[in-house]
């Protein structure tokens, strides 16, 4: 059947019997190439669900090592992994879950010199980064390369998710947020804390959106910003539109090259996250 092994037919049987997936859809998943930016809070559930779903190639961009304080939420890594490169423990976890998945390791700090080369081989990019410079870099690179970007972000008890796809009439990150906030205006460089389960919710939503894009099924979050508030236990949706004046994907773009926003919050990028009390970093 479509070149599956018997074991694959059994492993993916709950997908294969789904009308909107089927054998053909599962084949698409196995052939898909998805790049995860970050193997942390958001990247963990996304990577694990995409691996379990049989997404054939998972690229991971991650240069960090596992810290004990990561384990409260970053499910790709185990206590015994503390001190190891995250990209290695991520690969171990993914392949223990599903040996069908080919993990491609990009152990680099993304910047304007390498991002286009890294993303070019992938169908879909998933944003799980923890800082503004990388968010703008990845957005601009995806606009230039015409790749869909499945975006997620988290802060304390709140999360956001959407799909940016400027190549298909969708907005990009800069349509919403044309320029980075000035240093100190938005808590970002320092951690104000995050509920450990929160990235599980947002990262899982990103995984669903990736799978829908691969299958070509359903209504994606393109043009919609999904907001989640864990304390109120509320999901809300905001309509977001392509901005004709967007500096990167608009009609007369002013940003035509990648930008490395190196200085943020007065510290060199990448900054080591510091644990601060929330009131110290609130705007």
């Amino acid at each position: 059947m479509l070149g599956f092994t018997n074991e694959q037919i059994y492993r993916y049987s709950r997908h294969i019997i789904l009308p909107d997936v089927g054998g053909a859809g599962q084949k698409k998943l196995l052939k898909a190439k998805v790049l995860l930016i970050g193997a942390g809070g958001l990247g963990s559930p996304t990577a694990m669900y995409l691996a379990a779903a049989g997404v054939g190639t998972l690229g991971i961009v991650e240069f960090d090592t596992v810290d004990l304080s990561n384990l409260q939420r970053q499910l790709l890594h185990r206590t015994q992994d503390v001190g190891r490169p995250k990209i290695d423990s991520a690969q171990d976890t993914i392949n223990a879950l599903n040996p069908d998945v080919r993990v491609v390791k990009h152990k680099v700090v993304l910047d304007s010199t390498n991002v286009m080369d890294i993303i070019k081989d992938y169908d879909i990019i998933v944003n799980g980064t923890d800082n503004f410079p990388t968010r703008y870099l990845v957005n601009d690179a995806c606009v230039f390369a015409g790749k869909p970007l499945v975006d997620g972000s988290i802060f304390m008890f709140e999360g956001q998710a959407t799909v940016y796809d400027a190549a298909h009439d969708g907005p990009c990150y800069r349509c919403l947020f044309p320029t980075p906030p000035p240093p100190g205006e938005v808590p970002s460089c320092q951690e104000a804390g995050v509920l450990g389960v929160l990235p599980g919710i947002i990262g899982s939503i990103q995984a669903i959106e990736v799978i829908k894009l691969i299958l070509g099924k359903g209504d994606s979050l393109k043009g919609r910003l999904l907001l989640f508030d864990a304390m109120a236990m509320e999901f809300r949706e905001m309509k977001i539109e392509k901005d004709p004046h967007c500096p990167v994907c608009g009609e007369h773009p002013t940003i035509t090259e990648l930008i490395d926003y190196e200085q943020f919050c007065g510290v060199p990028f990448p900054a080591a996250p510091e644990l601060l009390e929330p009131e110290l970093v609130l705007v």
Binding site: G41, N70, N131, F155, E158, L225, D229
Partner: protein, 91 residues
């Protein structure tokens, strides 16, 4: 009364409240009245020229006010005003 949804980073000025109820006819009034009740609210949303800060998006009933009438956008009872700042966290 309109309901303003307050994002986590701004809840310090609202005494931790994620939603506040404000009497207003326009979005600008909603910000002004919110600032009267919760001093410091306005300066977190508007810049020195009085415009909505560019790293913040404001939505009335789920629609970006930049596609409506900006700060002049009329608001009515039971409308929801969402203030959504850029958020970078992911790890």
């Amino acid at each position: 009364m309109v309901t303003i949804l307050v994002p986590t980073p701004m809840r310090k000025v609202t005494g931790g409240q994620g939603k506040i109820q404000i009497n207003a006819q326009t979005l600008q009034e909603a910000f002004d009245h919110a600032d009267a009740a919760y001093p410091g609210f306005r300066e977190r949303v508007l810049d020195e020229q009085g415009e909505i800060k560019r790293f913040i998006n404001v939505f009335v009933n789920g629609v970006d006010v930049r596609t409506l009438q900006g700060r002049a956008t009329p608001v009515h009872d039971n409308d929801q005003v969402a203030v959504i700042p850029a958020m970078a966290g992911g790890a």
